[in-house]
């Protein structure tokens, strides 16, 4: 019975959490209120773990919550519940797009959507930059940036723009630099 409930709750989360992983958080709070599977303070830990492990954050959250509620099987069921609505909806959208891909208005829609995506990614970059490189308690230009982080970031950017290094090697390189320089 727990498994069925787990599936239903995460299915609902997957269906209504639109626009990325952290959109699942309010739904998880609701689950924590309703069921004895995990507490709200566990949920805070879950967010931290989900953000610091590879994979989409929403999926990580579902796996973690499912495991707390019902072991390995619970983890699998919660994850399937979470992704199933997206898979169904995206399949339907893909079929529709296939049919109308030469339609003039679909072209117009993408004309508008593409620059908006560029703006969204740039906005995400700015908030990440603020988090990693800018000292939030600065007193002036002298201590505005974390110097070590800023220099590493600039070197990494240069490397990324000038070479065709594999992104996976790149992530590993980042981890090694982090450990070596004790970031």
């Amino acid at each position: 019975m727990t498994y069925l409930l787990l599936f239903a709750e995460f299915f609902k989360t997957g269906l209504f959490a639109i626009g990325g992983g952290l959109a699942t958080v309010p739904f998880l709070f609701e689950i924590a209120n309703k069921y004895p599977w995990f507490t709200k303070s566990q949920l805070t830990d879950m967010i931290a773990v989900a953000e610091s492990t590879p994979g989409p954050i929403g999926v990580n959250m579902a796996t973690y919550a499912g495991y707390s509620a019902g072991g390995v099987l619970g983890a699998v069921i919660a994850t399937i519940g979470l992704v199933m609505p997206s898979v169904i909806v995206v399949l339907i959208v893909a079929k529709i797009l296939e049919k109308f891909k030469d339609n003039k208005f679909v072209g117009f829609a993408f004309y508008g959507i593409r620059p908006a995506v560029a703006g969204m990614i740039l906005a995400a970059w700015i908030s990440l930059f603020q988090m990693c490189v800018i000292n939030s308690s600065y007193t002036g230009l002298k201590d505005l940036f974390y110097l070590k982080e800023l220099i590493i970031f600039l070197c990494l950017t240069l490397l990324c723009l000038k070479t065709k290094i594999n992104p996976i090697c790149y992530i590993i390189l980042g981890a090694i630099i982090g450990i070596v320089f004790k970031l």
Binding site: D45, T53, G55, T63, T79, A109, A118
Partner: protein
């Protein structure tokens, strides 16, 4: 059948190295699917990504479903998505079962800070190529800057996507009529 498993493994590889959300995934998807193989075009990835803002669920999952569907229909979508979530399920279950306070371990913290800087640098390249593709005239430049501004003020991405679709259709339709 062979390609189905290949899709599974490619997405499992991407899922294993994606830290910190959908944006970090773009360069990897581009490398694995558009550069090493010609499964999809770079522009298509970005379009999938944009549509993923509007459809329910996690964006990485939406993109893998789209790509899988394009290659091998519904089965391809299921195999790709299964591949994408597989590493998460294994790693998270492992951590939940065995390690407490994973994120407090000093070496993990340092590695993650380094990874974050690497992701930050990678996104610079993504922003440049996305901008080159999306910003093609004065109207799209304005649209990008407005999106940037309202995002920084915390507008929801889904709403912005709907508005950008709407403005694209209206602008192009009106312009088409004026030119006639």
């Amino acid at each position: 059948m062979k390609e189905l498993f290949k899709l599974f493994f490619i997405f499992a590889k991407i899922g294993s190295f994606t830290f910190g959300g959908g944006y970090a995934m773009l360069p990897m998807i581009k490398r694995e699917l558009a550069e090493k193989r010609d499964y999809v075009e770079e522009q298509e990835i970005l379009d999938y990504y944009a549509i993923g803002q509007l459809t329910p669920g996690v964006i990485a999952v939406n993109v893998s479903t789209f790509v899988g569907h394009k290659r091998k229909g519904a089965l391809g979508a299921i195999f790709s998505t299964a591949g994408m979530v597989f590493p998460s399920v294994v790693i998270i279950t492992f951590i939940a079962a065995l390690v407490s306070d994973f994120q407090e371990i000093a070496i993990v913290k340092s590695a993650l800070s380094g990874i974050r800087l690497a992701v930050l640098a990678m996104i610079v390249k993504t922003v440049i190529s996305v901008t080159k593709k999306g910003v093609i005239d004065r109207f799209t430049l304005v649209l990008m800057l407005v999106t940037l501004a309202v995002m920084l003020f915390g507008f929801p991405a889904a709403l912005i996507t709907v508005l950008s679709i709407f403005s694209g259709i209206v602008y192009k339709s009106v312009k088409g009529r004026v030119q006639k």
